[in-house]
Symmetry: C2
Subunit: 560 residues, 2 copies
C-alpha cells in the first residue's frame, strides 16, 4: 500500500485486462499519483511507439509507448542486452514487453517508468515507408491516410471524446427513462419532402450480374432460336405422321417425349434471348416493383417521423444513429453521413423540449469535464485554448431563451449600430449562420435558444402557435458551431397537420401512417435533433467536421 | 412516510418527469410495494387506454392506462360527472388526467389506483376504424400495422428489453475500457468479398431529375439546332461581307456581337440536345466517376475491417451499428437491415476473444434478470415459458468449449446412435444450423463455443493455426437461436494474409489499406460479431426476427 500526500491510502496493484495478456496503460499512468504507487510491480504492456531514441551510445533506448487508453504515454526503457534497439525505436512500431515498474530519476516529467526485462513481440516499421512517420502532421494530410490517423494523438483524443459523448448520451436518456429505438436506415419515407437523398437499390447490380452471366454464357442468337423452332416443327410433324400411320404406342411415346424436349429447349432459349443487362423498365419508367423492396428506397435523413410512432406508444424515446444527405456540399460543416441524436417526448410541449435540450447539452459538457479532462487539456493545448472554458460556461450558465421575433429585433438593432451581415435581416427570413453566430458568440456569449419561428420557413410537422404566424420550433445555438440542435413541438391536431401537408403541396398518401398517429389517440409531443459531430466540434474546438468522425463521407470521398 | 412489511422505510413521494407535466407510471406502480405508499398523493399521468369499461350503469369508468414505461398498467377511475365516459373507454384513447392516488378495495390485483378529478386532454379513437382495436392480435397481423404495433404489450415489452440490452452493451464495453467507434455505413470496401450488398447511388435520381427537367423544358429538336447553325453561318457571312466592303467600325462591331450571340445560342442548344435522362456511361459501362462518391459505393455488411484500424491504434474498441445484406432470404432468422455489435481487441488471442464473448453474453443476461424481470415475466407468460430459466442458465453455467474437430466427432457419434441430420457430417463441412442446435440444445444443453474451424470454410482474415489446416475462428452457439456470435483471432502476419487473399482469388488492391495494418506495427488481435436481434430472440423467446426490430426490412418490405 502506498499513500498520497494527504495520507489517503491508494491501491497499489494493477491487474491485467480481463480479455488480454497485458495491463492497460491508463491503469498505470492514469492514477491520481501518475502511477508512482505501482513501483516494484511486474507488468506486461503492449502498445505503439510514439517516439523512440537510443541513448548511452546504444546501450539502452527510451520508448514513449501508447496503447490509446489515455492521452499520456508510458516511458519504457530497454537495454541493448534485451533486444535489438534499432528495431524498437521507429515511430509506429508495436511492442509487447514485460518488466518492472520503477520510479524515474528526479527531474523527469514521468512519475513511473517501465524497465523492460523481456520483449515478447515486435511489429516492425520501416520508417522510410511508414505513411505517418512524424508526430505532428496536418489534419488535412491525415485525411488521406485515414487508416493510420487514429495512431496520432489528436485523432485518438477525439476518438476518446467522441466515445465519452456517446456514452454520456445513452446514460442521460437512460437515466431519464427514455427507450433507445433503432429507427430504420433504409426508408421509403422522406422526412421533410425536401432533402437530397441517397438511393438504395439492387437494380444496377442485378443488371451487371446479368451482363457478366451473358459474357460467360452468350445468349442464343436469332438463328439459334429459329433452329430450335424448326426442331419443334419437325418433331411435331413427325408425331403427326406417326399418329396418322397409327404407329405402335412405344413409337408414339418416344416421339411425344422428343417433341416435349424440343419445346422445353425452345422455351429456355427464348427466355435467355430476352435477358438484357438493363435496369428493368415499365411504361418508360424504371420498374421499381423489381427492386429489392419492391419500391424506391432511400437512406434516411432523420429518424424523427418513425420514432414518433414509438413516442405515441411508450412516451419517452430517442434514436442515435447515422443519417444521410446527398448534398454536394464541400464545407467544413457538412458530411454525407453523420450521426444524429433525436429524442421524442410524449406529453411534452416546446418548453419541456427546451428544458430537455439544455439539460442534455449541460450533462454532456459536465461529463467531459469529469471524465475526459486529460484529453480536453490536450485539445486546449494544441487546437483551441478556450475549449475547456466553453464547456465550463455551458455547464454553469442558463441558456438564453429568446423568441425568433426578439432575435430579429436584436439583429436589426445590431445592423443599426453598424454591424454588417451578408444576408438581409427582416422578420420572416431563416436565420443565416452569421446571424446565429452573432447571437451566441457576440450578443450573449453563451448558448442561446431561439423559439417560435415563422411558419413559412419550417417543416409541416411543427405545431402552429395561436398567432397562426409562428410555429413552436426551437433551435439551440452555441458558440463556435452555431446551430447545434433543432426541434419543435409536433402538430398533434389532425385537421391542422393535414392541411399543412396539403398547403405545402405534398401528397397525402405517403403520410397516411403519420396522420394515423393524429387520428387515433393523439397526444401533445415534442422532440429535437442534435448533430452529434457538431457537439464534438463544440467540445473539442476542432474546425473541420471531417476530423471528428472516424470515416468521413463527402462528395468524391468514401475511403475504406 | 410508509413502511414495507419488513419495516423498511420507503420514500412516499413521486415527482413529475423533468421534461413533461406528468408523473411516469412506472414511478408509481414500479415501486417495491406496487405504489401503495403513494396513497393520498395528487398526480397527473398520461397514457393510452389498454382496456376501458363503464360500470355502475354508466356512473363511472375503469381505465387500464399504460404510458409504456413498464409492463404494468395504472388503474384509473373516472366519474361520469368528470368527463364523457363513452369517449374515454375505447382501446387506444390517449388521456392526460389528474387526481388522487388511493388504495383500491380489498381483493383487487392492483396495489394503487387513481381517482380522476380532472381530465386535461383526450385523444379520441373511433373503435370501428382503429387498426388494432383488440388487445390480443397475432404478431403477423401486427407486422402490417407497424406504426401501431408498439402500442401492444408484446412489442412494447420487446422494445424495453431491446433498449436494456443496448444499454447493457454500452455499459459492458465502457466498463472494460473499450471505445465505441462509429464505422461507416456507406463503404467502398467489401468485408468478405462475398455477401450480397445494397448499392448506394445518386446516378438514378440524377437521371430522373434530368428527365423531369426535359419534360418541363423540352430539349431542342434537330431542326432547332440546324436553324441555329444556319443563323451562325448567315451572321458569319454577313461579317465577311462587311469586312470585305471595309464597312465602318461600328457596323463591324455590331456584326461581331451578333455572330458571338448566335454562336453562344448554338452551343447552348447543342449542350441541351445532348442531355439524356440516362445513367451516365463510359466505354459501355456505368460511369461511376460521376456518382456521388466518384466510385461504386455500398451499404456495409460489417464494420470489422474498418474498426481494426482503430484497434491497431487504441487497442480496445467496438462498433454497434446497422449492417445490411441484400439476400432474398424470407426466413424468420434473416433481415436485410440488422444491428451488429463488433468488439475488436489488440494484444488478444482467440482465448481472450472467447473469454470476452462469454463475459459479454453473461453480462447481458444478468442485466435483464436484474432490470427487466417484469418484461421477462410477461414474455415467459405469453411467448416462451423457458426464457427466464434460459437467462439464468446462461449466467451461471460456464459455456462449453470444444474444437471443431471434437464437434464433428460428437455429431458423427450421434449419427451412429441413430440421429438423422439432413446435412452430411464430415470433417471439413461448415456446421449447419441443425448441427449447431443439436450441440447446444441436445448434447450440452447450454451455450457452446466451437473453435478452430477448417481453413477452407472461413474468411481470409482469420489466423492460420500451426496445423496449417485450421484457423483460430470461434462461434458461440446458444439454445433457441444457434449461432449467436462469430469471431476469430485475426491474421496479423503480412506474408500469410497476403497469400490468403491471393489464394482466394481476391484482388489485392482494395485490401492494401488492410495489409498496411500488417506492414507497419502489426499486433496480435481478435474480435467477434454478435447479431443483436439474435440476442433478443434468445432473451425473449420470440420466434420471428421481424418482431424484435422496430422497423424490419426484408425482400419486398420497407414500411415507413
Amino acid at each position: 500500500m502506498a499513500t498520497t500526500l494527504d495520507g489517503a491510502k491508494i491501491v497499489s496493484t494493477v491487474e491485467k485486462h480481463p480479455f488480454s495478456d497485458r495491463v492497460v496503460i491508463s491503469s498505470i499512468v492514469g492514477r491520481p499519483d501518475g502511477g508512482a504507487c505501482l513501483a516494484g510491480q511486474r507488468v506486461r504492456v503492449g502498445g505503439w511507439v510514439k517516439t523512440g531514441r537510443e541513448q548511452g551510445k546504444g546501450l539502452f533506448a527510451f520508448l514513449e509507448v501508447s496503447d490509446g487508453s489515455c492521452s499520456a504515454n508510458l516511458q519504457v526503457i530497454v537495454d541493448a542486452a534485451v533486444a535489438d534497439l534499432g528495431q524498437l525505436v521507429p515511430t509506429g512500431t508495436s511492442v509487447s514487453v514485460e518488466g518492472l515498474l520503477q520510479i524515474p530519476p528526479e527531474g523527469t516529467k514521468q512519475k513511473i517508468e517501465l524497465r523492460v526485462e523481456k520483449v515478447l513481440d515486435v511489429g516492425t516499421v520501416d520508417p522510410a515507408k511508414y505513411p505517418i512517420p512524424k508526430t505532428k502532421l496536418t489534419l488535412e494530410f491525415l485525411r488521406d491516410r485515414i487508416h493510420f490517423r487514429p495512431r496520432t494523438n489528436a485523432i485518438a483524443a477525439v476518438a476518446r471524446i467522441r466515445n465519452a459523448l456517446a456514452y454520456a448520451t445513452h446514460t442521460f436518456f437512460h437515466d431519464h427513462g427514455f427507450l433507445y429505438i433503432h429507427t430504420p436506415i433504409i426508408t421509403t419515407s422522406d422526412c421533410e419532402g425536401a432533402g437530397e437523398m441517397f438511393q438504395v437499390t439492387t437494380l444496377i447490380s442485378g443488371a451487371e450480374k446479368i451482363e457478366k452471366e451473358l459474357i460467360k454464357n452468350p445468349p442464343p442468337s436469332e438463328a439459334d432460336v429459329e433452329a430450335a423452332k424448326a426442331v419443334v416443327k419437325e418433331k411435331g410433324e413427325a408425331l403427326t405422321i406417326l399418329k396418322f400411320d397409327k404407329a405402335n404406342e412405344e413409337a408414339i411415346t418416344t416421339s411425344v417425349g422428343e417433341l416435349t424436349k424440343a419445346k422445353e429447349n425452345l422455351a429456355k432459349l427464348e427466355e435467355r434471348s430476352k435477358l438484357k443487362p438493363e435496369i428493368p423498365q415499365k411504361d418508360g419508367k424504371i420498374d421499381y416493383a423489381q427492386d429489392f423492396f419492391a419500391r424506391q428506397a432511400f437512406l434516411t435523413v432523420s429518424g424523427q417521423l418513425q420514432v414518433e410512432t414509438y413516442a405515441c406508444a411508450v412516451s419517452n424515446v430517442y434514436t442515435f444513429g447515422p443519417t444521410f444527405r446527398a448534398e454536394h456540399s464541400h464545407t467544413s460543416r457538412h458530411l454525407a453521413e453523420f450521426w444524429m441524436v433525436e429524442p421524442e417526448i410524449a406529453f411534452a410541449d416546446i418548453k419541456d423540449d427546451m428544458n430537455c435540450a439544455e439539460a442534455y447539452v449541460k450533462f454532456m459538457c459536465q461529463w467531459l469535464l469529469d471524465k475526459c479532462l486529460d484529453d480536453m487539456e490536450f485539445m486546449a493545448k494544441n487546437y483551441d485554448k478556450s475549449c475547456i472554458d466553453r464547456l465550463r460556461m455551458a455547464c454553469s450558465t442558463p441558456f438564453q431563451r429568446i423568441s425568433y421575433t426578439e432575435a430579429v429585433e436584436l439583429l436589426e438593432e445590431a445592423v443599426k449600430e453598424g454591424k454588417n451581415f451578408e444576408n438581409k435581416v427582416e422578420w420572416g427570413i431563416d436565420l443565416a449562420s452569421e446571424h446565429e453566430r452573432f447571437l451566441t458568440e457576440v450578443k450573449f456569449q453563451k448558448p442561446v435558444i431561439v423559439y417560435n419561428y415563422p411558419k413559412g420557413i419550417k417543416a409541416f410537422y411543427m405545431r402552429v402557435n395561436d398567432d397562426l404566424k409562428t410555429v413552436a420550433a426551437m433551435d439551440v445555438l452555441v458558440p463556435k458551431v452555431g446551430e447545434l440542435i433543432g426541434g419543435s413541438q409536433r402538430e398533434e391536431r389532425y385537421d391542422i397537420i393535414r392541411s399543412r401537408i396539403e398547403g405545402m403541396g405534398l401528397p397525402l398518401e405517403p403520410y397516411e401512417w403519420y396522420l394515423d398517429l393524429r387520428r387515433f389517440g393523439t397526444v401533445k409531443h415534442s422532440g429535437f435533433g442534435l448533430g452529434f459531430e457538431r457537439m464534438i466540434l463544440f467540445a473539442t474546438g476542432m474546425d473541420n467536421i471531417r476530423d471528428v468522425i472516424p470515416f468521413p463521407r463527402y462528395p468524391g470521398r468514401a475511403d475504406l
